[in-house]
Symmetry: C2
Subunit: 196 residues, 2 copies
């Protein structure tokens, strides 16, 4: 199905062009015209892939979480619980340019979600799926007796999720201080306090 | 100095009108015209207080952290460290409509900070002053022997700050699940784990 693959690839390239517009001009800078310009494509050709700004924004936001999920799916687990949790969390936080781009775009999206019903719905979806992701980290640690005995599955997942999203916000708005090295140290410090 | 007081009061009322516009239409909805409309004031009168959109945004963002700081200054401390930390953190998170409004506006501002140099600078300032605030919570707990012995002042301040800002993001984008009650439970759960 080469044509379908091309179609999807082109949509992802356009979403990446939308990300660049967002990082430079904010979510409000995204229009079918500005993204066509950014991608070096005519407006007519872009309309073959996306007909409205809203469709483009929705796909671009979904692509952020799909990329992150994809990388998490591809992790080759070591069997060492600490290393494996670090590997998962490492896909969510701005440790390199690729992840920083995603984090910046995510923050721009959630910051404008209040005023865009569709982005709001997607922000809720991403929130809920991440909470479930943290449960899938915390629950087995508890079940296998790897967590400190006083760890509560629900509250720990909420706390861990909040801490990680907070590090994302800080890593985006305060890059010079909240560096990849500092983010790693905080995550490790947290793991020291929940793992036996 | 009744005239100066009036002038400041009027600027704060206009900033609050800007907050309402932001909560409804996002940061990009703010213009001298839209805020004059929202405040029921003529454009000419508004220009007496703010001449540009940028000036209005800057003042409106500063007002968020000033209001929070003001409430923290006004806390009557009980002398019970746990209650006092809860009281401070309670001013930062969306526990009621007033704080929710501030949190929504803050998130909208940091979400658009990448594309607005002045808002970016202010986001950095707010970040740094909050980190210092968390140091002023954590340092005395350590100095007075109230914190668990393995607590590190810098890493704990970073972690606590990240967790609280993460709860702010989640309390805004996922109000139905991350309720005031849940936020209080997570903060308490965290305090249980750092206090002796």
């Amino acid at each position: 199905m080469p044509k379908i693959v091309d179609h999807e690839e082109r949509r992802e390239q356009l979403a990446e062009a939308a990300w660049r517009v967002i990082r430079r001009d904010g979510v409000e800078g995204v229009s079918v015209r500005s993204v066509a310009d950014e991608a070096g494509m005519s407006l007519g050709s872009l309309r073959h892939y996306f007909t409205t700004q809203s469709e483009l924004l929705e796909f671009s936001m979904r692509l952020v979480s799909e990329r992150v999920n994809q990388r998490i799916q591809n992790i080759r687990y070591s069997g060492n619980p600490r290393q494996d949790v670090e590997a998962i969390v490492g896909e969510l936080v701005p440790l390199d340019e690729e992840r920083l781009a995603e984090c910046e775009v995510w923050l721009a999206f959630v910051g404008s979600a209040l005023a865009h019903p569709k982005l709001r719905e997607l922000s809720e979806e991403v929130h809920d799926s991440l909470y479930q992701g943290f449960r899938r980290i915390v629950d087995p640690l508890i079940q296998h007796g790897l967590a400190k005995p006083d760890i509560d599955a629900h509250l720990e997942a909420m706390r861990f999720h909040a801490m990680v999203d907070g590090l994302v916000v800080h890593g985006v708005i305060r890059k010079q201080l909240v560096t990849p090295e500092e983010i790693r140290r905080v995550v490790n410090y947290h793991l020291d306090r929940i793992l036996l």
